[in-house]
């Protein structure tokens, strides 16, 4: 079960690493080739591992939504870089705080992806 896998991997492989804060990043972006690559590249450049990623089209034509879960000290500069990308409309973050608490990442992502709070008039709001 993925639930255990997450907990186990953290315990087995990262026992000595200082526990960083877990963050969920939700971005609305242009639904076209290369957009997702631009987004993930911002993480790669900062040597951040993406623990979970999922992307779906939204009810707005040409807009897709991507949800990422990462562990990092501070996501503010990263979000600022994401917001600069031309293909990104909007970025929102949520703080998730480690294992065993609240929803686990994969479940959270599924829940976030299910949310359909987009305005019909095309205004990009999360």
């Amino acid at each position: 079960m993925s639930h255990h896998w997450h907990v186990k991997s953290r315990v087995l492989y990262k026992p000595f690493i200082k526990q960083k804060m877990q963050h969920t990043i939700i971005a609305l972006l242009q639904d076209r080739p290369g957009a997702l690559s631009r987004v993930t590249n911002v993480f790669r450049r900062r040597d951040l591992n993406i623990d979970t990623i999922a992307a779906v089209p939204t009810s707005d034509y040409g807009v897709s939504k991507v949800v990422l879960v990462i562990e990092a000290d501070n996501v503010r500069p990263l979000v600022a870089q994401l917001e600069k990308l031309i293909d990104v409309f909007e970025v929102r973050t949520e703080v998730g705080d480690g294992a065993g608490d609240a929803l686990l990442p994969d479940t959270r992502v599924a829940a976030l992806l299910r949310q359909s709070s987009f305005q019909a008039d095309g205004a990009c709001q999360l």
Partner: protein
């Protein structure tokens, strides 16, 4: 986009549409090299040659740097072109350079036919994948009908907000296919983002902080020049009496002969400038991004200061140095607002405020008079040898002689000496590769500057190492009849800056830094330039005067003292308050200027 569409009823090839789109966006000069996948573009270019000048360079890197020089010398967008594969990858260095220095650059590359993309076709490279992290945005065009709006979007992006490079990759079939171009479109909202507006509250807060400050300081960077805010800065400084330091790219943003100009900070900044930063209580930074070469160990930077940071790029705010007031704004608009608010609040207390800063300024000038004469190259014993300082004294005279001059420097010791020893006073007269530190930048960039400013003298100051990286562009000057470039090679037979580090930090192990050089005079002659060698101080003025008045490209080989160093120097990773001010002696207490932490106000 203007609604006049004289040709819109006509079917055009993608290549013709591309030329038309560039002309409609006021592009006048392009730098590039043709090749298989851009041949349709070059074929069409021939029809438009009266309106669209193409400069044929000898290497795409040269084309890219020439375009950068053109952009940096004018403030306008510049265009460089390469074919697919190696042509495109050769453009990577200038694109990265433009990215680091926020230079508005449009790089156009050819791409294999859309049917061949992803098949490892001949001269196919995933160039949009490569330029992705070093451009503001990039595009792959596969249809001719997309060209008009993509080119306009690309140019809008390159020249708006924080300017920078944008890359457009166009497949060969898109250039070849015909369609009726549609020039009637609007920029999509995702591209056309409104610029930041200045928040009045923040401006008021800034003015309050500056008014209550006892040791205020302004740091002006590239953003002041890019936003054409130099006269607003001058007005603000004159009104407030606050001293100004200018970063490497800010040189020229504020005249160095002004009594409130201090000079350049950072790794090779003057002692009094760095100490002023460490002692100031309010630091107003405008259009500068706290590069590590400016801040040294960033946690120790300006320890006593409340920082006010004005930048057009929101991602720069609070990135490295936490700001008490972080203002996301265009430098010019912010300075307008600052001037307005300052003027509103000033009455007769203005002079009092200035007097207040007078003590602070005197403190800094005192430091300057103590430390600047200790510079190694300011107190060299008399000898016949040519020291770099001698060359710069003569060059400074030539550059500031009243004739309009621009100076393009490369990267290394000569670059730092130029920044330190030439008096900069006019924006866009000091052009160098800063953030990226690209050796080989100067000669091709000077080509671009010279084409943009044919009536001015363009001095190249470069090292013997950097010169040999891109000197092939001298023949491009010949082909384009560029005659106003004068190259000063500060020739010490070493990769000098690396050698300096080896001397200071690696026990003089000169691993792979000595250079065996060609005869630069003969090399110059073969490029139809005048080559002159200078070995002795007494020849300096005569040669530089002759070079200035010579109608044609000149290459001067200045054979300088081989192991002269750039000082002061902050060893990498140190606080900018800890500076080596001389060589040859152990860095004892005497040589290390400690940060004055007691200076908390």
């Amino acid at each position: 986009m203007p609604a006049n569409q004289p040709d819109s009823s006509k079917t055009m090839t993608g290549a013709q549409i591309l030329c038309e789109a560039l002309i409609r966006n006021n592009v006048k000069v392009m730098f590039g090299i043709p090749g298989g996948t851009v041949m349709p573009f070059y074929h069409a270019m021939f029809e438009y040659r009266d309106k669209l000048r193409h400069v044929l360079c000898r290497h795409e890197q040269g084309a890219g740097h020439a375009a950068e020089g053109y952009a940096r010398g004018t403030g306008n967008l510049a265009v460089c072109i390469g074919t697919s594969g190696p042509g495109a990858t050769n453009l990577i260095t200038p694109i990265a350079d433009a990215w680091m220095d926020s230079t508005p650059l449009l790089a156009i590359t050819g791409q294999v036919a859309s049917t061949l993309i992803g098949t490892d076709a001949f001269q196919e490279t995933d160039i949009t994948g490569i330029t992705l992290p070093i451009t503001k945005h990039n595009y792959l065009i596969k249809k001719a009908c997309d060209i008009p709006h993509v080119i306009q979007e690309a140019i809008y992006l390159a020249t708006s907000g924080r300017t920078g490079p944008v890359h457009v990759d166009i497949t060969k079939d898109a250039q070849q296919e015909s369609c009726v171009p549609n020039w009637d479109f609007k920029l999509s909202c995702r591209v056309h983002r409104a610029g930041p507006s200045v928040a009045v509250e923040q401006i008021r807060h800034t003015v309050e902080l500056l008014r209550s400050a006892r040791r205020p300081l302004i740091m002006a960077g590239n953003g002041v020049i890019q936003a054409e805010a130099c006269s607003e800065l001058r007005r603000f400084v004159d009104a407030t009496g606050i001293p100004v330091v200018t970063t490497l790219h800010g040189l020229g943003a504020f005249p160095e002969d002004h009594q409130l100009s201090l000079g350049m900070p950072g790794m090779h900044g003057w002692v009094h400038v760095n100490k002023a930063i460490q002692r100031c209580d309010v630091l107003l930074t405008i259009g500068a991004r706290f590069d590590d070469r400016v801040t040294g160990k960033v946690s120790t930077f300006a320890p006593n200061a409340k920082v006010i940071h004005i930048d057009i790029d929101r991602a720069e705010l609070n990135k490295l140095v936490p700001a008490t007031v972080a203002i996301h704004a265009d430098a010019r608009e912010a300075l307008f607002a600052l001037n307005d608010v300052w003027d509103d609040g000033t009455g007769s207390d203005c002079n009092e405020q200035k007097c207040h800063h007078h003590d602070w300024l005197m403190e800094i000038r005192q430091l300057q008079s103590e430390h600047q004469p200790r510079q190694a190259y300011m107190r060299k014993a008399e000898s016949g040898d040519l020291s770099p300082a001698d060359v710069y004294a003569a060059l400074n005279k030539a550059v500031n002689s009243g004739n309009r001059c621009r100076v393009v420097t490369d990267v290394g010791q000569h670059q730092m000496w130029a920044a330190q020893l030439i008096d900069w006073s006019v924006p866009r007269t000091h052009i160098t590769s800063g953030g990226s530190g690209t050796m080989g930048f100067a000669v091709p960039a000077a080509l671009g500057v010279a084409i943009a400013h044919p009536d001015e003298t363009v001095w190249v100051i470069c090292g013997d190492g950097g010169f040999q990286m891109t000197n092939q562009e001298l023949i491009t000057m010949k082909q384009e009849n560029v005659r106003n470039v004068k190259v000063a090679i500060i020739n010490n037979g070493y990769l000098g800056m690396v050698r300096q580090w080896q001397q200071l930090f690696e026990e003089r192990r000169y691993s792979n830094t000595p250079l065996v050089n060609p005869d630069f005079c003969k090399l110059a002659e073969s490029y139809d330039a005048l080559g002159v060698r200078v070995d002795h101080r007494s020849q300096l003025e005569e040669v530089i005067d002759a070079a200035s008045s010579h109608d044609g490209v000149v290459v001067i080989d200045f054979r300088v003292e081989r192991e002269a160093n750039v000082f002061p120097m902050v060893p990498q990773g140190n606080s900018i308050g800890r500076m080596l001010v001389d060589e040859g002696v152990d860095p004892t207490e005497e040589l290390l200027v400690e940060p004055d932490m007691s200076a908390v106000v």
